[in-house]
């Protein structure tokens, strides 16, 4: 029973990280129909920038967070400007898929050269002694992860529902042409959604960094699994992402425990393939009606 509780709690923490990254996918997909294949690298850069702030510049962890968020916004805007906007203009899906992949590769390589190829430890802001809760050992950092992820998503929800600018973003996602007719600059909305998407990824990066090792390679697997969560939950459903994240996190932790850590990533990927094979709109998504 203890084991089950342990798997659940660890799985939830991991799952929430996936959910936050997947949240970023949703944001850009909703407004522009495009995704950042280098989303994992946005997380990685956020973590490394955060590490530099805390280690080299001696910043306090909590003060570092807004800095990393700002960095994330800039990085996201850059990706949109260079990789996505030109592709949307020439209406080439192939274009933004390949260019976001390319930018991801470049970011990873730059990170390798700037921060080195080794995985680095991230100084945790909270004590690393596990607390005992319902028979499971939980690290305070894991609780921070769950709380941080939820707070981030709630903030964005609040923005979307209560501010006129947030409503403009939702409107663009709903019907881009009609949003333009309202006087909304949809181009800027798309740039903004990419900025926000990278912000959430970078934030997720500094949340998860103290729990694992920080390095140039941390983004790849995370990005792919976050995509799996976005697909499983449904690219149009916010709730679905949280559920999808939790499912994946728990299944993964269980696999890592009962089989071997090497196989940990496999169930998520197989789940992704199954969902795409049977219900591409996701478990919670709505199927689109084909119109000819």
């Amino acid at each position: 029973m203890d084991m089950l509780a342990q798997i659940l709690t660890s799985g939830i923490a991991v799952g929430m990280i996936y959910a936050v990254i997947a949240f970023g996918f949703q944001l850009t997909f909703a407004t522009s129909g495009t995704l950042n294949f280098g989303q994992g690298e946005a997380l990685m850069l956020g973590a490394l920038v955060g590490l530099t702030c805390v280690d080299t510049l001696g910043m306090n962890y909590w003060a570092m967070i807004p800095v990393v968020c700002l960095f994330g916004m800039l990085q996201g805007s850059f990706v949109e400007l260079i990789g996505v906007r030109p592709a949307i203009k020439i209406k080439s899906e192939f274009g933004w898929i390949m260019s976001t992949i390319a930018l991801g590769i470049i970011f990873k390589n730059v990170a390798e050269n700037v921060w080195g190829r080794d995985a680095l430890p991230f100084p945790p802001p909270l004590p690393m002694e596990p607390m005992s809760f319902l028979g499971a050992n939980i690290l305070p950092m894991e609780i921070l992860v769950v709380v941080g992820a939820l707070v981030m998503m709630l903030l964005v929800e609040f923005f979307n529902r209560k501010t006129i600018y947030g409503k403009a973003v939702v409107a663009t996602a709903n019907d881009r042409d009609a949003a333009g007719l309202m006087g909304i600059n949809t181009s800027m909305v798309i740039t903004f959604s990419y900025a926000l998407s990278s912000l959430t990824a970078a934030f997720a990066g500094v949340l998860i960094a103290p729990l694992t090792l920080t390095g140039a390679t941390m983004g790849g697997a995370l990005g792919l699994k976050a995509f799996a969560v976005a697909i499983i939950g449904g690219l149009s459903s916010g709730m679905g992402i949280i559920v999808g994240g939790l499912i994946l996190g728990i299944v993964e932790t269980a696999t890592g425990f009962y089989f071997s850590t090497g196989y940990k990533d496999v169930p998520g990927l197989i789940l992704l393939l199954l969902v795409l094979a049977y219900k591409p709109s996701g478990l919670f998504g709505k199927s689109a009606i084909k119109k000819v």
Binding site: I164, V170, D177, G180, M182, G183, N185
Partner: protein
């Protein structure tokens, strides 16, 4: 107020409009009628920036707007209730109306009193008032049409473009829609009304243009056009060609 000169537009290879000219004086309701495929919606899209015209001029209050982006044209005071309503289905009625006033929030248009205007709009459209917190996607076709028009009104626009407001609506709802258009007209709102249903449109308009195969076949005071056989011919073929 709004002046269209020799407008040509199309989609890719297909040229739909072959040079049309329409004049919408301030305070009047002008209607553009014609059968399907005649080019009415293309005209609206070319005016409001959803597609870029290939030739011709569109002028709003003396300013050239042809080739501009939709959002810039909206900020100049041109409100568009598009074909098919295009309400924001995942948002509430109130939110839809607030978004209609978006340029007023951001300062691109004179702010005025948005809250009061919201209440006025709901008074004008009682059906919407009952459903102010309902999701726009759950409204019926007629209610969505009301919402699209109310949303356009929320801009406090110089001119409202109405694209086929009667489409897909049962006759009784069509009556209600046109009653509201008359109401707006009596308040002095300038409107360009594009309609498939010639009869209702000509009843409410001051002046009409008949569009056929991308050209203006005939135009004149609405009262005269009502009895013009050329109008019927434009829709159902036959005599006159």
């Amino acid at each position: 107020m709004l002046s269209i000169q020799n407008l040509e537009a199309g989609y890719g290879k297909v040229k739909v409009l072959h040079g049309i000219s329409i004049d919408v004086p301030k305070g009047q309701v002008i209607t553009l009628i014609g059968s399907n495929g005649a080019g009415k919606t293309t005209t609206m899209r070319a005016i409001t920036g959803m597609i870029k015209p290939t030739a011709g001029e569109v002028t709003l209050s003396g300013q050239r707007i042809d080739g501009s982006d939709s959002h810039k044209i909206a900020r100049l005071g041109l409100a568009h209730s598009p074909e098919g309503r295009r309400v924001f289905t995942t948002m509430s009625v109130t939110d839809n109306l607030l978004l209609g006033a978006f340029p007023r929030f951001t300062g691109s248009r004179p702010k005025g009193d948005i809250k009061t205007d919201l209440e006025h709009a709901l008074e004008m459209f009682p059906r919407l008032k009952e459903r102010r917190n309902q999701l726009a996607g759950t409204l019926s076709g007629g209610e969505q049409q009301m919402l699209a028009m109310a949303r356009a009104v929320m801009l406090n626009p110089e001119i409202i473009l109405l694209d086929e407001p009667s489409m897909g609506l049962a006759p009784i709802l069509v009556e209600e829609v046109f009653r509201i258009i008359s109401n707006l007209k009596s308040q002095g709102v300038t409107m360009l009304l594009v309609e498939q249903f010639a009869a209702a449109a000509l009843n409410v308009a001051d002046y009409g243009y008949v569009l056929e195969n991308g050209k203006i076949a005939t135009h004149g005071p609405a009262s005269k056009l009502k009895d013009d056989p050329a109008v019927k011919a434009a829709y159902l073929g036959g005599s006159g060609h």
